[in-house]
C-alpha cells in the first residue's frame, strides 16, 4: 500500500470529519464527563449508519472490506472532537481477531453484528500490565473466571475479547458479556470511555487462538489497536495545534498578538513538528499492515502520537493561559483524553520496550 492517501481514502476521512463536526460539540461532551456510565449513543448510532463499524469487516459479512488506512482516517476525525464513545477501536480489533482466528463459526456469528455496530471491548489488561505475561483470568471448559481491569467500554459492551490462560498457556477467547459478568464501573477522569473492571464468573467463551498462536495474535492485535489509537491521538493533537495557533494570532497582550512572542511561537512550531512526525508514522504504519515491519511501525506510531497528544494538551492549555483551564472552554476534554488514550493499550514504557525488542531482535 502506498503512504499517499488515495482520493477515496481522503473522501472517507472528510465524511467522518463532517459527521463529527455536525454531531459533537463541547457542551455535549462536557455533559458526559461527570456522570459515570454514560456515552454518546446517538453519535455512535450515526457513526454506524455512516459505516464506521463496518470498515474492516469483509463484504461477505456485511462490511466495507477496507483497511487500517480508512479506519485511521475515521479515528483521526473521532480524536479531533474528541468523541464521547469508545467503540470504534475495540470493534475493529475484535473483527480483526475473528478474521485471523481459528473459529469460523464465531466469525460468522459475530462479524455481521460487529459490522452493524455491536459494542465490543478488549479485556486484556490486569493490574498495571496491558498484556500480562501470565494472565490470571482462567479459561476452563469453555468458561472464563477471574478479573480484568480498566476495560474500556466495559460498562456497556456486549462482547469482549479476553486474554486469558488455559492452564498450559495463553488463549484469546471471545465472550458475550451476559449476567455471569459483574461489571464494576470505574469513576474516571474521562467517563465516556465507560471503563469498568470485569469479573468473569464462569462466562461462556469461545477460544479464537491458543498457545503460541494466541500470543502472536495478541501482539499483532495490540499493534493494530495501537495504530487506531495513534490516529485518534493524532486527531486530537492536530486539533489542539490549530486551536493554539488560532488563539495565538487573535489574542493580544502587551499590545501585540501573543503569537509574536517567541515562547509561544516556537512552542507551537515545535508542536507542528510532533504532529507531522506522528502523522507520517501513523500513515506509514497503516500502509504497511501485513508486512514484517508492521510491529515496529505500529510502535513508532504509538510513541510519536502519544508524545504529540500529551505535548499538545500541555502546551495548548499553556498558550491559552487562564482560559485554557476553565471547565467551559473544554480544552480539558483533550487533556483527559490524552491521558486515557496514553494508557488504553499499554503505556509508553511498554511500547518503548516492545519497539526495542523488535529493533534489536530480542526474543519476547
Amino acid at each position: 500500500m502506498s503512504i499517499l492517501l488515495g482520493e477515496d481514502q481522503v473522501a472517507f476521512g472528510a465524511a467522518a470529519g463532517r459527521l463529527v463536526a455536525a454531531r459533537c460539540d463541547t457542551a455535549g461532551l462536557l455533559g458526559l464527563l461527570e456522570p459515570a456510565g454514560r456515552d454518546d449513543r446517538a453519535f455512535w448510532a450515526a457513526a454506524v449508519a455512516d459505516g464506521w463499524s463496518a470498515i474492516v469487516v469483509p463484504p461477505a459479512y456485511g462490511g466495507l472490506g477496507l483497511g487500517l488506512v480508512e479506519l485511521g482516517q475515521v479515528a483521526q476525525a473521532a480524536g479531533a472532537a474528541p468523541v464521547g464513545m469508545p467503540w470504534l477501536a475495540p470493534g475493529a480489533i475484535v473483527a480483526r481477531a475473528l478474521l485471523r482466528g481459528d473459529d469460523r463459526a464465531a466469525a460468522q456469528a459475530w462479524l455481521p453484528r460487529l459490522a452493524a455496530g455491536e459494542r465490543a471491548a478488549l479485556a486484556f489488561a490486569e493490574g498495571c500490565e496491558a498484556l500480562p505475561g501470565t494472565p490470571e483470568v482462567r479459561w476452563r471448559q469453555g468458561a472464563l473466571r477471574g478479573d480484568k481491569h480498566g476495560v474500556v467500554g466495559g460498562l456497556a459492551a456486549a462482547v469482549a475479547l479476553v486474554w486469558a490462560g488455559d492452564g498450559t498457556g495463553p488463549v484469546l477467547a471471545l465472550a458475550e458479556l451476559d449476567g455471569s459478568v459483574a461489571r464494576r464501573g470505574i469513576d474516571s477522569f474521562d467517563n465516556s470511555r465507560l471503563p469498568a473492571d470485569l469479573a468473569f464468573g464462569g462466562t461462556a467463551a469461545q477460544v479464537l487462538a491458543s498457545g503460541e498462536a494466541a500470543h502472536d495474535l495478541a501482539r499483532e492485535l495490540m499493534a493494530a489497536w495501537a495504530v487506531v489509537l495513534a490516529f485518534e491521538q493524532l486527531g486530537g493533537a492536530e486539533a489542539l495545534l490549530w486551536r493554539a495557533r488560532d488563539y495565538a494570532v487573535t489574542r493580544r497582550a502587551f499590545g501585540q498578538p501573543i503569537g509574536a512572542f517567541q515562547s509561544v511561537k516556537h512552542r507551537i512550531a515545535e508542536l507542528y513538528g510532533l504532529v507531522e512526525i506522528a502523522r507520517a508514522n501513523c500513515l506509514h504504519a497503516a500502509a504497511c499492515d501485513g508486512t514484517a515491519e508492521f510491529a515496529r511501525a505500529a510502535a513508532a506510531a504509538r510513541l510519536s502520537a502519544t508524545e504529540a497528544y500529551d505535548t499538545a494538551a500541555r502546551d495548548c492549555v499553556q498558550v491559552h493561559g487562564g482560559l485554557g483551564t476553565t471547565w467551559e472552554g473544554g480544552l480539558h476534554l483533550h487533556m483527559r483524553r490524552a491521558r486515557s488514550l496514553a494508557a488504553e493499550c499499554g503505556n509508553t514504557l511498554r511500547w518503548e520496550d516492545w519497539l526495542v525488542d523488535a529493533i534489536a531482535g530480542i526474543a519476547l
Partner: protein
C-alpha cells in the same frame, strides 16, 4: 522572641492536636457550606491558639513575630491538608493591603480582626477577561463622580469572590493616560448594589474562581487605597507582600516518597518498576531538583535569620517545581495503566496523582505564568532586555486591540 526551632515544635504539636478536627480526613466528603464552615472554624482556632497574623504587629491583632515564623508555620501546616484555602488571598494579600493603605485606620483594625478570626473574607479583583499576565491592560472603569467613584466592568479569576465580604480592586480612572499610569486602587463591599458574582468551574470541576460584574457600583473616595494614578505601583507593591511564604519543592503536588511507593508496587512487562532505568532516572532527577530547591529555601531562611536579604534564586521554585509535578503526575498515572483511570474528586492534591495532574496547568498559569516568570528572571536577575512593548508610552485607548 521565640526561637525558630521552638516555634516549629510548638506549631507541629498544635497542628497535630487539631488535625483530627480539621485535617484532610475531617474535610473529606463535606458539602461546600459545611466545608466553608470547617474552614472558618479552623481559622478561628488558629487565631485563638496564636497562629494567625504571625508576623503582624500586635496593634493589628497579630503575634508580632518575624516573616520566618510565618514561613515555618506554613511549612508545618502544609502536610495536614487543613481547610485553609479560603484565607490565602484574604490574609495573604488583601487584608495586608488594607492594613497598609486604608484611610480609616479604626475601621481597618476592625476588618483585620474579623478576617483573622475567619468571620470575614476578602478577595482581590485584579485580572480581567482581556488579560491575566498583562495586568496593566485592565479595562474596568472608575469614573469620578463628586466625592464618589462609579465602577463599571468585569473581573475574572477572582478567587473565592462568592464567599467574600470585601475586595480590593484596581480600576482605570483615565484611559487617556498610558496604560500603567491610568490605574487607581480601591476597596469594595462585595455586597454593594451592582456587584454580581458568578462562580465558574475549572478543568478539575472545582468552582473557587469567579467572574465579577460591576454595574454602576458606587464607592466613596475614602475607599481609595492609592493615590489617583498610583494603582499599578500599589498593585506591584502588594505582590511583594507574598514574598515570604512557604515554597514547596513538590510543586504543591504529591511528595516524591509517594512516587517511590507507587514504583514499588507497579510493574513494567512483569518487572518491578523501581528497577527500571526510566523510573529510576525520574526519581533521581526529581530528587536532585527538589533537594536543590530545598537547599535554596533553607539558605534563604538562614540568610533572613541572619538579617540578610536572600538571593533572587527563590524565584525559581514555582516555575521549576510545578512543571516537574505535571510530568511526574502524568507518569504516575501512565505507570498505573488500567489502574490509573480512576479519579476520586474528593481526594487531596498532595495525595492523589490525578488531582495533581488535572490541577497542575492552573498552577502553571495562576500567580505568574511560566513565561512571565522566565521573563522576570531574565530581566530582573540577569539584566536581559525587555520584550518589545508597543503598548508602552501611548494612551491606553490607543493601544491596538
Amino acid at each position: 522572641m521565640i526561637a525558630l526551632d521552638a516555634w516549629r515544635a510548638q506549631a507541629r504539636a498544635w497542628l497535630a492536636s487539631v488535625a483530627p478536627r480539621f485535617g484532610k480526613e475531617a474535610a473529606r466528603g463535606l458539602a461546600p457550606e459545611a466545608h466553608l464552615a470547617l474552614g472558618r472554624a479552623y481559622q478561628r482556632a488558629k487565631f485563638e491558639a496564636g497562629f494567625a497574623g504571625i508576623n503582624w504587629a500586635p496593634e493589628w491583632h497579630g503575634q508580632g513575630l518575624t516573616p520566618l515564623h510565618k514561613v515555618v508555620f506554613e511549612e508545618e501546616e502544609m502536610p495536614f491538608g487543613m481547610p485553609m484555602g479560603y484565607f490565602g488571598v484574604s490574609l495573604g494579600i488583601s487584608v495586608p493591603v488594607v492594613m497598609q493603605m486604608a484611610q480609616d485606620r479604626d475601621w481597618a483594625r476592625e476588618r483585620v480582626l474579623a478576617a483573622l478570626r475567619g468571620d470575614e473574607i476578602w478577595c482581590q479583583l485584579f485580572s480581567e477577561p482581556s488579560g491575566g499576565s498583562d495586568l496593566a491592560g485592565l479595562r474596568t472603569r472608575a469614573e469620578p463622580d463628586g466625592n464618589q467613584w462609579r465602577l463599571n466592568g468585569q473581573k475574572l479569576w477572582t478567587t473565592w469572590a462568592q464567599h467574600s465580604d470585601y475586595g480590593v480592586i484596581v480600576a482605570r480612572h483615565d484611559p487617556a493616560l498610558p496604560k500603567h499610569k491610568g490605574l487607581t486602587y480601591f476597596w469594595l463591599d462585595m455586597h454593594a448594589p451592582g456587584v454580581t458574582v458568578r462562580p465558574f468551574r475549572l478543568a478539575t470541576g472545582d468552582a473557587h474562581v469567579n467572574e465579577v460584574f460591576l454595574d454602576e457600583v458606587r464607592i466613596d473616595d475614602t475607599q481609595r487605597l492609592s493615590p489617583v494614578g498610583g494603582g499599578f505601583a500599589a498593585a506591584m507593591a502588594t505582590l511583594m507582600i507574598e514574598r515570604y511564604s512557604a515554597a514547596d519543592p513538590a510543586g504543591f503536588g504529591p511528595p516524591l516518597e509517594a512516587f517511590v511507593a507507587l514504583a514499588r508496587v507497579r510493574t513494567i512487562g512483569g518487572r518491578p518498576a523501581l528497577d527500571d532505568g526510566r523510573i529510576r532516572s525520574v526519581i533521581a532527577r526529581t530528587y536532585a531538583m527538589r533537594s536543590g530547591l530545598d537547599a535554596i529555601r533553607t539558605r534563604a531562611m538562614r540568610m533572613m535569620e541572619a538579617g540578610m536579604e536572600p538571593g533572587p534564586e527563590g524565584a525559581l521554585s514555582k516555575l521549576v517545581s510545578v512543571r516537574s509535578r505535571q510530568r511526574l503526575s502524568e507518569l504516575a498515572i501512565d505507570l498505573s495503566g488500567a489502574l490509573g483511570l480512576a479519579w476520586d474528586q474528593g481526594a487531596w492534591v498532595k495525595d492523589d496523582w490525578v488531582q495533581s495532574w488535572l490541577s497542575a496547568p492552573t498552577m502553571r498559569i495562576a500567580g505568574g505564568a511560566d513565561e512571565m516568570l522566565l521573563n522576570t528572571i531574565a530581566e530582573r536577575i540577569l539584566g536581559l532586555p525587555q520584550d518589545h512593548r508597543p503598548d508602552k508610552g501611548i494612551a491606553f485607548r490607543d493601544v491596538p486591540v
